[in-house]
C-alpha cells in the first residue's frame, strides 16, 4: 500500500482535524455518486478504497467519518427482471452489468414493444454511453409509465443529482439552477441593456 499520508495529501504532523478534512475532501471528489453509471466507476471505486484504507491506517484503524471501515461505497446495482419480456430483459440487464453496452443496445433495439422496463433499460444504456439528453427522456418515460417503481425513480434521481459536485465546486462562478439561473439571466439582461441590447424583453 502507498504511504497513507501521501494518499490523503497531508503532512506527517497533520492534526486529526486536518486529516479528517483532507479525507472528506477526497471522499467527496471520488464519491460513487459522482461516477454513477460512469464507465470509469471501477477506477473511482479503487481510488475510494485506497483513500478509506489510508484514513483507517492513519487514524489507528478506528472507524472513519463514513462510519465503517468500508467508508463510502456503493453496492453494485442488482438488476431484477420485470415485464413480459422477462427473459430478454434479464439478458439485457446482465449485458449492462458486464459493461457490454453495445450488445445490450442491439438487443433492446430488437424489441418492438416499448414498456416501462424497456424505457428504463434504454435510458440506462444511453446514460452509460454519455447520451444524456436521450437517456433522461427514456428514464422519465419509464417513471411516468410506472410511477411506483423505485428502481426507475432512483435511476432518474441519481442522474438529476449527478452534476452537483461539479456545479458546486469552488463556489460562485457556477450554479445555474432554479433561482441562480434566473439571477444569471437577470444579470445577463442588465449587462445587455447597458450595452444597448436586451435579453429579457419585458424587463
Amino acid at each position: 500500500m502507498d504511504d497513507p499520508y501521501k494518499v490523503l495529501g497531508v503532512s506527517r504532523d497533520a492534526t486529526e482535524e486536518e486529516i479528517k478534512k483532507a479525507y472528506r475532501e477526497l471522499a467527496r471528489k471520488y464519491h460513487p455518486d459522482n461516477y454513477h453509471n460512469n464507465p470509469l466507476a471501477d477506477l473511482a471505486e479503487e481510488k475510494m478504497k485506497e483513500i478509506n484504507e489510508a484514513y483507517n491506517a492513519i487514524s489507528g484503524g478506528g472507524s472513519g467519518p463514513a462510519g465503517s471501515s468500508g467508508g463510502y461505497g456503493r453496492n453494485q446495482q442488482s438488476y431484477r427482471q420485470d415485464g413480459s419480456y422477462g427473459n430478454i430483459y434479464s439478458q439485457i440487464r446482465s449485458y449492462i452489468s458486464m459493461g457490454n453496452i453495445a450488445q445490450a443496445e442491439a438487443l433492446l433495439r430488437s424489441v418492438s414493444d416499448h414498456d416501462a422496463e424497456w424505457e428504463f433499460l434504454m435510458g440506462t444504456v444511453l446514460y452509460r454511453k454519455g447520451w444524456f439528453d436521450e437517456a433522461k427522456r427514456h428514464l422519465e418515460a419509464a417513471c411516468s409509465m410506472n410511477p411506483n417503481n423505485m428502481e426507475y425513480r432512483n435511476a432518474l434521481n441519481n442522474m438529476l443529482r449527478m452534476n452537483e459536485t461539479y456545479r458546486t465546486y469552488g463556489g460562485p462562478v457556477s450554479g445555474m439552477n432554479g433561482c441562480d439561473c434566473c439571477m444569471n439571466l437577470l444579470c445577463a439582461d442588465c449587462c445587455c441593456e447597458m450595452m444597448g441590447g436586451d435579453l429579457i424583453r419585458c424587463c
Binding site: N34, W131, D133, N163, T165, Y166, C181, N184, G197
Partner: protein, 292 residues
C-alpha cells in the same frame, strides 16, 4: 476547432497564467516549425488546452525564450517542441483542414472563396499531417461522413450528432503512449470534451444557422424553426452540458498527472463552466480564442 476551451482569467494566478501561455506559445512554435510560419494562424485555445493536458503526463523539461511576431521586442517563454506538441500541431492541421472543407460545403461558391483559397494553401500541410497520423485522420473522415448522413436525414438527436465529434476527439487518446489505465480515462475525458464542444458550438451558432437554413441539431431537437430557446429548453441543455462537464471532471480527477494539475483544474472547473453559462444566457455568440 472552435476555441471554447479557455481559462477564466480571474481564476488564474500569475504563475498559472504563465504556464498556460508557455504551452500556448509552445504549440504556436511547434506549428511554425513543423508546417511553416503562417500555419501558426490556425492556433487555437482548444488545442492549447489539449497540449497542456497531454503534456501534464510528462515531467517538466524547462522552457525556451524567443521573439515572435506577436511579441517582437519582449519575446516570450515557450515550451520547446516535444512529442506532445508535435501531436497537437498535427491534430490542429487535420481538424482545421476538415473544418475548411465543411465551410466550403455549407456556403455558396462566392462566400466560400476565402475558405477555398485557404484549403488550397492548407492541402500540402494536411497531407503531411495525415501522413504522420493516418489512424486519427481516418477516424476524422469516417466520423464526419457519419455526421453528414445525420445532417442529411435531419436527425433530431443532439446526442447522436455530438457523438461524432466526441469520437473524433477521443481518438486522439490512441495517438499517445500512456499507460492502459490513463489512456482509458483520457478516452472518456476527450469523448465528453468533444461532446461539450460540439453542443456548445451548436447553441452558439443557433441563430446564424436558422437564418441561413443550415442544419443545427439543437434547432431540430426543440423544433425551433426560427424562434429562440425557451427558459426550460435552456435549462435542459444546461443539464446535458453539465453532465458532460461532470464526466470530464470525474475523469480528470482519476488521471495520474505529473504537473499542471492546478492550471487544468481551473480551466475545467471554472473556464468551461463560465463558457457554458455565457453561451446559454447570451443571445449573440460568445466565441473567442483564435481559430479559423
Amino acid at each position: 476547432m472552435f476555441g471554447y476551451v479557455r481559462p477564466l482569467k480571474s481564476k488564474f494566478t500569475g504563475d498559472e497564467e504563465a504556464r498556460f501561455k508557455c504551452v500556448y506559445c509552445g504549440l504556436c512554435y511547434a506549428l511554425g516549425k513543423r508546417y511553416g510560419k503562417l500555419t501558426r494562424l490556425i492556433l487555437n485555445y482548444d488545442l492549447a488546452f489539449m497540449a497542456l493536458l497531454l503534456g501534464a503526463f510528462k515531467e517538466d523539461s524547462g522552457n525556451n525564450h524567443t521573439r515572435c511576431p506577436a511579441k517582437p521586442f519582449k519575446g516570450s517563454d515557450y515550451r520547446p517542441p516535444d512529442e506532445t506538441l508535435s501531436l497537437c500541431a498535427d491534430l490542429s492541421v487535420i481538424l482545421t483542414y476538415h473544418k475548411l472543407l465543411d465551410e466550403i460545403e455549407d456556403e455558396s461558391f462566392v462566400k466560400s472563396l476565402s475558405a477555398r483559397f485557404l484549403k488550397l494553401w492548407m492541402r500540402p500541410k494536411y497531407r503531411k499531417a495525415a501522413g504522420y497520423r493516418p489512424d486519427f485522420d481516418k477516424t476524422v473522415r469516417l466520423r464526419l461522413l457519419a455526421l453528414s448522413e445525420i445532417e442529411k436525414e435531419k436527425n433530431d438527436s443532439i446526442d447522436k450528432a455530438a457523438d461524432t465529434f466526441a469520437e473524433i476527439l477521443s481518438a486522439a487518446a490512441c495517438e499517445t503512449d500512456f499507460s492502459e489505465k490513463n489512456s482509458r480515462i483520457l478516452t472518456h475525458f476527450l469523448y465528453h470534451l468533444g461532446r461539450w464542444i460540439y453542443l456548445v458550438d451548436a447553441v452558439n451558432d443557433l441563430e446564424d444557422d436558422m437564418k441561413k437554413k443550415r442544419y443545427n441539431p439543437v434547432a431540430l431537437r426543440y423544433s425551433l424553426s426560427g424562434r429562440a430557446l425557451s427558459g426550460d429548453e435552456r435549462r435542459e441543455l444546461l443539464f446535458t452540458l453539465e453532465n458532460s462537464l461532470s464526466n470530464i471532471a470525474g475523469a480528470f480527477e482519476l488521471l495520474e498527472l505529473s504537473r499542471d494539475r492546478d492550471v487544468l483544474s481551473d480551466i475545467i472547473y471554472f473556464g468551461l463552466k463560465a463558457v457554458t453559462l455565457q453561451i446559454l444566457t447570451a443571445r449573440k455568440g460568445a466565441k473567442n480564442g483564435r481559430s479559423l
